[in-house]
Symmetry: C2
Subunit: 675 residues, 2 copies
């Protein structure tokens, strides 16, 4: 198709070089291309008919996909396998979850909470390779999600038998949403209140076998059912579980931290903080997934916009491409800049996480851990905010892309409604976004207090070290290019974030001084706390974006700097209130910035297709006729519709339509009363 | 359940009286209750298992529902039937669409475009009662949606035969998304380019029979297929249609406006503007539907929040209700105020539409129509903005409600994900929201020009009559109650809207003065035009809300005024940038307003459940265990899950799970090379 070929000729940068830069080098690009080819050729990895098959078929097809992936799991280095899974996540999110529950959550629980002996035992039983053991993660209950400490399931120590009795005491204590429970798993990592000698010791983790490996029959005392139809990710078989006096040996409590001895002595661990690590890993993965999913959505929307035409600029002239309308650029290109921002944030976060884990693991006994723990705390809080705002941003990007396709976005074959429904759960699981954002806000209040006490804060909140002088800074610029330069925007975020954090922290302190308990004061300032986390996180993403592109090759830098500026300017304009309220920008500057969004969109427009091309997602991964590389969208769309909906005899003409069409319209008779 | 009973005791207002006020009087409430009872008792109107039945079953079940509704259509006054349909729309949106395509669009096309003789003919064939004729509305094509003038289907006059030849020339000319085409209709109102003697006369409407009434066989030259799986509203059977040289008599062109005589003379109508009316009716219906759908979503989310508990305020104390957390109030109560705002806007709009239609119909020949036409033009533009921003607001409300249920919002049984997927299309059909918003913005630019010329504008844009003095007004208040009073907020909207309209209008004028063509200038300022439409529409909704409650009984007024203030204050805070930029509020005032959102939420919190109770939607309509009136959500939810997912033998344990679990992990052998 010439229309899209002509778009490719306009590229201001070498597309393949951008792909390499985004992937982290040519070898990484080749690896991804190998993954894509392997998936595309594998008949069990067919995904282009999901719109038209039943829940039961989707579940079975998802399970079929496991075989080859488990082979790779057993045969390739873990870092290669992780990259494979990151790609699979955007091809088939439900499969990613179904395997991820075992591989990430169940094994993750063993890694973080089993003693080395316990860990070796489960590995010897086949847990690592899903051979003899397939596990699920039984934490959430019907009545308790975010408040893990309030879980109702009990694990009562029976000293005589040296066993724990796992029990679901109430309906609300039923484990729900347990991924894999309905059709896949043999074992569960069960979170339950430890009760020893009548005393409750809080929530601990226990390994409970749910089913016989050979027959898949439920073990005595276990009841499991299917959670049924979900908004999305139907390929994952979430189930509910009720335990009725299920006995397990004492050694199936994971005892890396808290221990229960033969005689029922409970020993608590000295430092629980180190378990943060597992949470951070999940959050980093979700930031990366937000970026990747946004790439897929934007590839569809922007390629469609380059082919679809609407309204003629001149009477009798050809209609214009959607992408040539300033409003369409305004709708999509700032989202493209957000996508790049999340990409680079993901890269930086991933590296931070790897470094942090290395520092923790290589720490020597007796070494001063203060700096590492401070960095851990900051990363834990920052990643909470990032998980929340990146998943929300991605969900919004998908929906905006979907709407930008007009009526065709409502077709399941566009791929975008399914993407949205699949993605939506990311805003809830592994920490409800609102609650995570509030945690991030709480950390910021703590930082403000610390800096007042003279403590030096780590880089992620480093702008607070410049208190109080930073508070009153004003932007000195008047020219558009100055105002939208990365350095100006970075200062804008720093100044405004510092003000916002100060505001909520002082309100909090005032409430506490007034006699309120700190927990209540945190609740009372939660809207402000949420807002502080939002602005801080948006600024943090901006700084990671600009950090991420600082080492870009000269051929890529101009377009990346423009995208970074667009991200910053658009974010400022969308949150104009706070930037005006603290007087970093005045009304005239804000006017110019508003206009700069349009200007930057216009500059980036010519690179729109080359930029989504640089994401290098194959038509198989894109899985949408509207997002095809060759731009032949209408023919592919019509073919997909016809293939999925072949002509069939009318299913209910005789029984329903015909009686309606041919019914008698005579007025119904009524007897006369007479006299 | 006591928890929800205790909520009901806190009501600050008489709930039944509120229901009557919202409905428009006790008789209206009784009518709605009668409708609800009729639906609930009718086995064909079962809707509580839609999550678990197939597309084919949903389609058939939707058709079954038609029988009783068609009976009412034939036997009750049109205004009663319209109210019935407004309720049905939130119980079963797909059915509403399936009937609405015939009843609203097909009949609507006849009403607005057929001559009286033609109209009588189709009525005599049974069009009004779906007896002999069931119609669809074939406008959209694969390559053309918003740009109706660009449609490709042709209707070529064959003078010799006195016939039109209807033809689809290209793939992109295929009619798509035609509701009812796949399985329901016999006839279509087809929009096609009229070609007479080789000359194109623009898009006109033609009635084409698609199928034989007795056999449902397709007529010669007609090809129809199913559009297949959609994001939502699966009960409506959208189809695609291709016409291949289909001949129809000349009299099947609807000739109320443009006429083609026997000898091929084309006569154009003097005034096309009056066809606006049909568009306005659809938009008003969608504003009303946005309010009603939001009521349903909020009933679910707020009842859930009154029952669900999370985190204990004190160690070992009971956990708090979600609704008692300030952040949860902040998440939901401003949305509740938006719901009321849309309700009252819908009521006012409906009345405006009825009055306008009456004025138009009762106009005498020779009467000066200027005022009526001016009002028509304003209503047309205002309703465009309202359709856009109310449907977006409602879609956001549904999604926020869904997320507020945490993981349980991801269950299809919560009803909210389905509601969101069903509702999403409202942002696209009957005018893509972005395009409608731009139309509204274009009107505002015209108003600014008119007022500069000394013309007096109609009430909806009346604030522009106060130009230029209004531009520099500043808010004089400092106390929270003053700042959040309806009069202060109304002035705030007026001042800021006037500034925003001036800004975009002057930019536009400057571009035109600089030599740009007006159409191009409109495109270049489209982001600002969109923004002007947004702020204007939000202010318009505020004014209709405050107008709508001005006559409320004294017992209801306090809570309604608080809701109105919350709507206004929240809208100002969410759009703080523009209120600060034009200096109506200063930073300190904005701080106070921000705090007022929390304060108003806290005041309204005690009435949250009584307010959703006053919507008076039965459990049947709510159709979600989480939104039950009695608050027994967990038992109902668990029952629904188990009923929908009864225990079954494992479908693929032997074929897929067992081979994985029990596979040999021995390293594969390779032959030795030897020497």
């Amino acid at each position: 198709m010439e229309v899209i070929a002509e778009e490719r000729q306009k590229a201001s940068f070498p597309v393949r070089e951008m792909t390499h830069y985004l992937d982290g080098g040519p070898a990484e690009t080749e690896l991804k291309e190998r993954f894509m080819q392997e998936l595309e050729r594998d008949p069990f990895w067919k995904i282009d008919d999901y719109a038209d098959i039943s829940l039961a078929e989707i579940r079975e097809r998802t399970m079929q996909k496991a075989k080859i992936v488990v082979h790779h799991l057993a045969n390739e280095p873990v870092e290669v396998f992780r990259k494979r899974m990151a790609l699979i996540s955007i091809a088939e999110p439900a499969f990613w979850t179904r395997l991820g529950v075992h591989y990430g959550l169940f094994i993750g629980a063993l890694q973080s909470q089993a003693t080395p002996t316990q860990f070796s035992y489960w590995v010897s039983k086949g847990a690592l390779a899903l051979n003899g053991v397939i596990g699920c993660f039984a934490m959430t209950e019907m009545g308790h999600g975010s408040n893990v400490a309030g879980l109702e399931t009990t694990a009562t120590f029976d000293e005589a038998a040296d066993e724990f009795i796992i029990h679901t005491p109430t309906l609300t204590g039923t484990k729900v949403w347990i991924g894999g429970a309905a059709h896949t798993v043999t074992h569960a990592a069960v979170f339950a209140q430890l009760i020893v000698k009548g005393q409750v010791h809080g929530v601990k983790c226990f390994i409970v076998q749910l089913r016989d490996t050979a027959t898949f029959n439920l073990k005595p005392g276990i009841n499991i059912g299917d959670m049924g139809k979900k908004m999305g990710r139907d390929g994952i078989d979430n189930g509910w579980i009720q335990f009725t006096n299920v006995r397990i040996p004492r050694s199936q409590m994971l005892m890396k931290h808290t221990k229960v001895s033969r005689d029922g002595t409970v020993t608590e661990p000295p430092l629980a903080q180190l378990t943060y690590g597992a949470l951070i890993q999940g959050r980093v993965a979700m930031v990366v997934d937000s970026g990747n999913t946004a790439k897929k959505a934007l590839t569809i929307a922007l390629r469609y916009a380059a082919v679809r035409r609407q309204f003629a600029a001149k009477p009798d002239g050809p209609e214009s491409k959607l992408l040539d309308f300033p409003i369409h650029q305004y709708r999509l290109l700032p989202l493209l800049s957000q996508c790049f921002a999340m990409h680079f944030t993901g890269v930086v976060m991933d590296k931070m996480y790897v470094d942090l884990t290395r520092d923790l693991e290589s720490a020597q006994p007796g070494q001063n851990m203060d700096n590492i723990l401070e960095a851990l705390k900051e990363t834990h809080s920052t990643s909470a905010g990032l998980k929340a705002f990146c998943t929300w941003t991605c969900l919004n990007i998908i929906e905006q892309c979907r709407q930008s396709l007009g009526g065709n976005g409502y077709s399941e074959y566009s791929g975008l409604s399914r993407m949205s429904n699949d993605f939506a759960v990311q805003c809830t699981w592994e920490g409800d976004n609102t609650i995570l954002a509030l945690q991030a806000g709480r950390y910021l209040i703590g930082c403000f207090r610390d800096v007042r006490k003279g403590k030096k804060l780590p880089p992620g909140v480093g702008y607070l070290n410049q208190l109080p002088s930073i508070l009153t800074k004003k932007c000195p610029y008047t020219r558009p290019e100055e105002l939208s330069s990365p350095s100006c925007l970075q200062e804008a975020f720093n100044v405004v974030c510092a003000n916002v954090v100060k505001k909520v922290a002082e309100n909090f302190q005032q409430m506490v001084k007034g006699g309120m308990k700190p927990d209540e004061a945190f609740e009372q300032c939660s809207a402000e706390r949420f807002f502080a986390a939002k602005i801080h996180t948006l600024g943090y993403i901006f700084s990671k974006f600009s950090e991420g592109i600082s080492s870009a090759p000269p051929s890529l830098k101009p377009v990346l700097v423009n995208l970074c500026s667009l991200y910053g300017v658009y974010t400022v304009v969308e949150n104009a209130g706070v930037f005006l309220q603290y007087h970093y920008f005045n009304s005239e500057q804000m006017d110019i910035l508003t206009q700069q969004v349009n200007n930057l969109c216009q500059i980036i427009r010519k690179d729109a297709i080359p930029l989504v091309d640089s994401f290098n997602l194959s038509d198989y991964i894109i899985n949408s006729p509207m997002g095809r590389f060759d731009g032949n969208i209408y023919q592919a769309y019509f073919d997909r519709i016809r293939r999925a909906n072949p002509a069939k005899p009318h299913p209910y003409f005789e029984s329903l339509v015909k009686p309606l069409l041919t019914r008698s319209m005579a007025v119904e008779e009524a007897p006369e009363i007479g006299k």
